[in-house]
Structures are given as structure tokens and as C-alpha cells.
């Protein structure tokens, strides 16, 4: 594993920088205030599709670029810097990721090319309670096999990223007494499917999804079994990359303020009490960068064992959760009064840090899993 960027990776990062850095978090604010129902920019989404970003990790055989999570992480980091609400991570790692990991060749051929261009958006509906469940807690959504073939899906899903915007939902559901849930494709217009967009503190697109006896055909079931864990681990690493960008931007914003803001006749950044806190935040940021890069590279290794992927994902997410929360808290504190106003962007980082920290398992969940995987 090499933790230095290749020339190709630098190019991807620089392209993403050019496209996403100009607006910063102001864009999220505009979407929040001006278009609360849209939640993200369809124009930018189309542009990303044209650039090939929405197919970055989709295999070339299905219209994508066939690159790895190490490359996608660079785009997600840049998106995260500006708190971009476009569901790139969910679309690629949850939606396309689930189809790629568990779908049949026919399902892949049918959906992946449209996802790669951005023509269609897929996501995964897996969470049912307020927390990521401990291992062994059964999935409550059920898929009953129908006498004439096909399945009938009943249950409720929460915190579905882009759940109200997606054209295709992949729903996890238990079949009979199987311990592991299976994954089912549900298209947006299905009878019995209701979706409620949530107004969450971070203003990112997320929904609750109810399935009241939604009937799907036999070909809606993804044949792959036990795929959910790996899909979630990859998406968790993607989220950690996005968080890395968020914390880097929050720290840079704070450093600029420390240099600019004057009290007692000097820049407040000359005070050692603040310098040391900023320096400690930087140390946490740099450690987070290491674990995120390592996790993405682990995920890209051919035939990586499930345990190694889970450990890498937990390491990245536990640290990203704690570091982003710390840096966002410190950023608001060091901004002083202006940091508490809605007008200032730093508060948007605080809100997103909290949401991200509590998504896909919080730091404690991931430490618990780390310990379990290590046998204690």
C-alpha cells in the first residue's frame, strides 16, 4: 500500500478542486434557503455526470471509469470541503455499489450504465432504527415470496440518503428465517412505496421510506448474498473521505479568522492558547487523512477479506467522527460570537459534523466492532 498520491490521482483531485472550490459552503446555504425541496443541485449533478464522476467506480464494461475508492475519495473530499449535498457517495457506493456487488449480469447491464451517466440515481435503504444496529439484530423489513413468483416487501426504512430523489431504491429485507437480509430493487413509482423527505439539521437530502406490501418481480431480487456488509463498509469509507474534506475546510476557515480577527491590538492567532488548539486540530486532521487514505486503498485491493475491509472502515470512521466533531466545535469556539450566527458558514460545518458522526455507525459503534473483530 502506498500512501502518496499518484499523478493520475493528483489530476482527479485538481479537477475536483477547480469545479467544487469556488462556491464553498455558500452553495449549501443557497440550496437550503432557496430550494428546500430540491435539496441538491440537479445542474451540478448533470455536470458531474458529464465529467464521468458518477461512473468513477462503476466497471468500464457497464459504462463507468472502473477506478477505485482511492480516486473517488478525492472527489468526495473536495465535495465535503464545501459540504456539497449532492449524494455522490450514496449513489456510487450504496446504489451502484450494491448492484455491482450483489446484482446479476442482467441487472448490472440494465441499471449501471444509466447510473454512470447520472441519468438515474440509485440509493440503498438499509437503516431501521436511530442507530446502526449491533451485529445479530435482525432486519425487520420482510420480503415474502409470492406463490406466483416475486416478493412482497413490508417495512420501514430511515435515513435513506437521497431516498426521496432516487429513481431506484435497493431495499434490504429478510426472507423467511435467513439470518442475512437480501437486497431488492424497488423503482420509484412502485405501488405501496411512500417516501418522506426529512428536514435534517445538515440540510442534506435524506428520507424515510415506507413499504406497505410493495410487490416486485423475481428479477428484482439481487442474487448476491451477504453483500450488505461490504457495501456499507465501502460507503462508510466514502463518508469518512467527505468528512475529511469538511474538517480540513473548517480548520482552514478558522486559521484565516485567527490571522484576521484583531483583539487587544493584535491578531487573536498570535495567542498561544489558540495556537495550540489549532495545532492539535491539525494533528487530528493529518491522522484522519492517513486512515482515510489507507481505508480506501484497502477497499481497492482485489479480493480483500471482509474482516480487513471492516477494520479499515471502522478505523477511518471512528477517527473521522471524533476529529470532525472536535474540529467543528473548536472552529465555532474560536470564531467567537460570529461563529454562533446563522449568517456564518462555520455553523454549517458543526451541523454536518454531527450528522456525519452519527451516520453509518458512530465512533463508539466502530470501536466496538474493532474490538469484536480483534477477539475481545
Amino acid at each position: 500500500m502506498n500512501l502518496a498520491l499518484t499523478d493520475e490521482q493528483k489530476l482527479i483531485r485538481d479537477t475536483a478542486k477547480d469545479m467544487l472550490r469556488k462556491d464553498g459552503a455558500r452553495r449549501l446555504r443557497r440550496l437550503r434557503d432557496a430550494a428546500p425541496d430540491a435539496r441538491f443541485s440537479r445542474e451540478l449533478w448533470a455536470e458531474m455526470g458529464e465529467l464521468g464522476w458518477l461512473g468513477l467506480t462503476i466497471p468500464e464494461a457497464h459504462g463507468g471509469a472502473g477506478l477505485g475508492l482511492a480516486e473517488l475519495a478525492l472527489v468526495l473530499e473536495e465535495l465535503g470541503r464545501g459540504l456539497g449535498p449532492e449524494p455522490v457517495g450514496a449513489a456510487l457506493l450504496l446504489g451502484a455499489g450494491a448492484i455491482d456487488a450483489a446484482g446479476s449480469e442482467a441487472q448490472k447491464a440494465r441499471f449501471l450504465p444509466r447510473l454512470a451517466t447520472g441519468e438515474a440515481l440509485a440509493t440503498l435503504a438499509w437503516q431501521e432504527g436511530p442507530h446502526r444496529p449491533a451485529p445479530g439484530i435482525p432486519c425487520m423489513t420482510v420480503a415474502e415470496a409470492q406463490p406466483g413468483g416475486g416478493y412482497r416487501l413490508t417495512g420501514e426504512k430511515r435515513e435513506v440518503v437521497a431516498g426521496a430523489n432516487a429513481d431506484v431504491l435497493i431495499v434490504s429485507a429478510r426472507v423467511g428465517g435467513d439470518p442475512e437480509p437480501r437486497l431488492f430493487l424497488v423503482e420509484a413509482g412502485a405501488t405501496g412505496l411512500t417516501r418522506e423527505a426529512l428536514d435534517r439539521v445538515d440540510a442534506h437530502p435524506v428520507a424515510r421510506v415506507a413499504l406497505a406490501g410493495v410487490e416486485v418481480g423475481e428479477d428484482a431480487a439481487l442474487p448476491g448474498v451477504a453483500a450488505l456488509g461490504g457495501v456499507l463498509d465501502r460507503a462508510t469509507i466514502g463518508l469518512a473521505a467527505e468528512m475529511l474534506g469538511g474538517m480540513a475546510a473548517a480548520l482552514e476557515m478558522t486559521l484565516a479568522w485567527l490571522r484576521e480577527r484583531r483583539q487587544f491590538g493584535v491578531p487573536i492567532g498570535s495567542f498561544q492558547a489558540l495556537q495550540h488548539r489549532a495545532a492539535r486540530a491539525f494533528v487530528e486532521l493529518e491522522l484522519t487523512r492517513s486512515v482515510v487514505m489507507a481505508a480506501a486503498r484497502t477497499a481497492d485491493q482485489a479480493g480483500v477479506p471482509a474482516k480487513a475491509l471492516a477494520q479499515a472502515a471502522s478505523l477511518a470512521k471512528a477517527r473521522a467522527s471524533d476529529a470532525f466533531a472536535l474540529i467543528a466545535d473548536e472552529a465555532v469556539q474560536m470564531h467567537g460570537g460570529i461563529g454562533m450566527t446563522d449568517e456564518h458558514d462555520v455553523g454549517l460545518y458543526l451541523k454536518r459534523a454531527r450528522v456525519a458522526a452519527q451516520s453509518y455507525g458512530d465512533a463508539a459503534w466502530h470501536r466496538d466492532r474493532w474490538a469484536r473483530l480483534a477477539g475481545y
Binding site: 493584535v266 495545532a279 477517527r319 480483534a374
Partner: protein, 405 residues
């Protein structure tokens, strides 16, 4: 060097090591602080350790990447990496460790004149001369540039008077590299020279320091009219601060990497302690959830730190050498080690509190001593506060107290 040449080098190296590495040393890798230090009064753990040093030094492989003209191995970075891998494969210890190899040697290569390199490097490579570092003084700790030890020119010599403190292994060392004041009238950083002094010179005395952990490698070193040669000033008279800073940066990287190695395996150590202390069964989940969480946190911090060490090394290999960022490793590595040492004592409970005597086994006594010793990690080699100052000013670009950036 082509892939084929590198493969040939590996085959030759492997064959040579198989023939020349003493069997008794295989499977005993050692670390930065445990091994053969060499020197005029060097004692070897065994005859095989002596043989191992002599054979490796004859090829220059105690300092694999140093130029062959000074007795080094003359290997490229890739060849040196192959050598390191082959040593690791046989779990062999480094033939020689010490501050000559990791501190003064690289400094001489960077700042020394041809004559200085020829005089001093071969003795380091062969393990004949053991070096120590004379930086801190009783009145000059974090404010190192305020140092007062004076060196007054007298013909082709300097006459040195003053005192150094926190000098590791001074009583076992043959030469000392020292910061001395050669111009008391200049701005404090500009009147300092970096000079090499033979510890056998008349007027040099050393006195060990006992720490709260009961022992220590540290000494005080006193200079009373000690005569040193003017030709042993490195980097020019009154230009010693530049040399000193370069060496300190090197030291920080080294200290960080040393801690990276020393924290390895922390999870297994802590787990074994917890099981032994009755906090869990011999296998399976621990019964104390908070202890379990703290062990996981410590293990994950350790892994994140190791990956950061690796990332900085990978960046260096890709042409982006470490700068003041090396302070990150010093701050984080030392605090990580402190957290782990304290957690070990907490988990051991009453068994982690012994000071001496047969009532405690060696492992238990080691826990107490290691915890106490670890408190010094964030003080020595530049305090955490100094490292944070460096990060704030030189990496983050925050302004000085006067208001200037």
C-alpha cells in the same frame, strides 16, 4: 537500477546474510534503544554480536546509504530497502545503533567539510566511536538558543566552559556534539557554534541523573577549560543554530518513528493485562466495557499513528521531504505512548503500583517504571508545547505574539 539488478542484489544479499549472520542472533530483532552501541568502551552482549558488527561494518552496511568513500555501504535507497527487508526476514538485529548513525552522521554528511567527513564518519560506521548530544543547559531548555556554555578561540583551539544537561549516555560516550556560544555580543541565535569535543579531553566530567522512574540514561556534563580543535566546528563559526535545527528536525522524525515501533503490539499487551487482572475470561469478550473501549481506542490510535509515519515516508520517497510536519509525530507519538502506559497501570490495578521487591514480578515492576518514564516523553527532545508552537507558526502560518506572521 533496473528490476533485474535489484533482484540480483537481493539474491546476493540473502546469500551473504545466510552465510554471515550468526545463528544466535536470528529471531532477535531488537530496537532503536536496545542493541550494540559500540564505542571505545563498548561492551557486546555476546561474541556473536561483536562478529555481526565487524562483518556488517566491513561492508559499510551499518550505514547502508552513506557514501562508500567514508566507509558507508554506498547503496541506493532501493537497495537499502532490500537490505532492510532481508534483515527483517531473518529477524536480525541492527549490527549497530546510536546517535552517531542517526544524528551526527547525517549532519556531517549535510554540513561537514570533506576533511571533517573523512575524520569522523569512518569511526561511526565501524562502531568505534560512540556519540552523545550536548544541547540543553540548566538555564536553557525550551529556550535553547539562550545557551551560555562559552567557547573562546585560542590559536587553533577553543577553550570551553559551562554545563550541559539531559545528555543521554554521556558517561558511556567518546565524543559529544555540542552547541556553544562563540559570540556573546551577537543576537542569541547568531552567536552559537556547533562543535565536536572528545570526551576524554581534560576538564570534561559527567554525572548521572536519577529520574522519578528510578533510573535514567541522562547525565550532566561539565566543561572546565576544555580544549577542542577549531577544525571541529561544523557548518562555520557562529552558524551553529542552522546546523542544530536541522539535526533537531531529524531527531523529531526519529523519535516519532521510535515511538511508532515501541507502541506496536499495544493491543495484545493491554488485553493480556486485562485478562490477567480478572477483567475478562482467557478468551473472548472482556467483561469490563469501558476498559474494552479504551483498549480499542488505544489500538486504533496506534494504527492511525503508524499509518501517518508510513504516509510521511511514502511522501518523502515521492520527493516531498518531511518539514516541520515531523512535529506531528513527536506530539502524537509521545502522548500515545503516555496514554498506553497509564492505561496499562490502570488495568493492572494494584499490581501496577509496585516499586521493588519479590512481592512483584519483573513484568509488574516494569509497568510502574515504564509509566513513570513515559511522563518524560513529552518533555525530552522538545516539549509538546514547543512542537505545537512549531506547528502553529511554521505549518499553519499563525502570527507571532508581536503580531507579525
Amino acid at each position: 537500477m533496473s528490476r533485474v539488478d535489484l533482484d540480483a542484489f537481493r539474491a546476493d544479499t540473502r546469500a551473504w546474510l545466510e552465510d554471515n549472520a550468526p545463528a544466535s542472533l536470528r529471531g532477535r530483532p531488537g530496537d532503536m534503544f536496545h542493541g550494540t552501541w559500540g564505542g571505545r568502551r563498548g561492551d557486546f552482549e555476546s561474541d556473536d554480536h561483536r562478529v555481526w558488527l565487524e562483518r556488517m561494518a566491513a561492508r559499510g552496511w551499518t550505514a547502508p546509504t552513506w557514501p562508500a568513500e567514508y566507509g558507508g555501504g554506498g547503496l541506493s535507497r532501493k537497495e537499502a530497502a532490500v537490505l532492510a527487508e532481508e534483515l527483517k526476514r531473518l529477524k536480525l538485529p541492527a549490527p549497530l545503533i546510536g546517535f552517531g548513525l542517526v544524528m551526527i552522521g547525517p549532519t556531517l554528511l549535510q554540513f561537514g567539510t570533506e576533511a571533517q567527513k573523512r575524520q569522523h564518519l569512518p569511526g561511526i560506521i565501524k562502531g568505534e566511536i560512540r556519540w552523545c548530544q550536548g544541547y540543553s543547559e540548566p538555564g536553557s531548555g525550551s529556550d535553547l538558543a539562550s545557551l551560555q556554555t562559552s567557547a573562546v578561540r585560542d590559536g587553533e583551539q577553543y577553550v570551553i566552559n559551562g554545563q550541559k544537561i539531559w545528555t543521554s549516555y554521556a558517561e558511556k560516550s567518546d565524543w559529544i556534539f555540542c552547541l556553544v556560544r562563540t559570540d556573546p555580543g551577537a543576537r542569541k541565535q547568531e552567536g552559537i557554534s556547533f562543535i565536536l569535543v572528545d570526551m576524554a579531553s581534560p576538564g570534561v566530567t559527567t554525572k548521572p541523573i536519577k529520574l522519578i522512574s528510578g533510573a535514567s540514561p541522562f547525565c550532566e556534563v561539565f566543561f572546565d577549560d576544555v580544549r577542542a580543535e577549531a577544525r571541529d566546528v561544523i557548518g562555520g563559526v557562529n552558524a551553529g543554530w542552522t546546523v542544530a535545527k536541522a539535526l533537531l528536525q531529524h531527531e523529531r522524525t526519529m523519535v516519532g518513528e521510535v515511538f511508532a515501533r515501541s507502541v506496536l503490539g499495544g493491543q495484545q499487551e493491554l488485553l493480556a493485562l486485562a485478562r490477567a487482572a480478572g477483567l475478562g475470561p482467557p478468551e473472548g469478550s472482556l467483561e469490563a466495557p469501558l476498559v474494552r473501549d479504551r483498549i480499542a481506542q488505544s489500538a486504533m490510535d496506534e494504527r492511525a499513528f503508524m499509518l501517518t509515519v508510513q504516509r510521511l515516508q511514502d511522501n518523502a520517497r515521492a520527493g516531498q521531504p518531511p518539514g516541520p510536519e515531523s512535529s506531528i509525530l513527536k506530539v502524537y507519538g509521545t502522548e500515545l505512548n503516555q496514554r498506553r502506559r497509564q492505561l496499562a497501570v490502570e488495568i493492572a490495578g494494584a499490581d501496577g503500583l509496585g516499586w521493588s521487591g519479590d512481592a512483584y514480578d519483573d513484568g509488574a515492576l516494569g509497568l510502574t517504571r515504564d509509566w513513570l518514564r513515559s511522563r518524560g516523553n513529552t518533555i525530552e527532545g522538545g516539549t509538546s508545547e514547543i512542537q505545537l508552537n512549531i506547528i502553529a507558526k511554521r505549518v499553519l502560518g499563525l502570527p507571532d505574539a508581536g503580531g507579525a506572521a
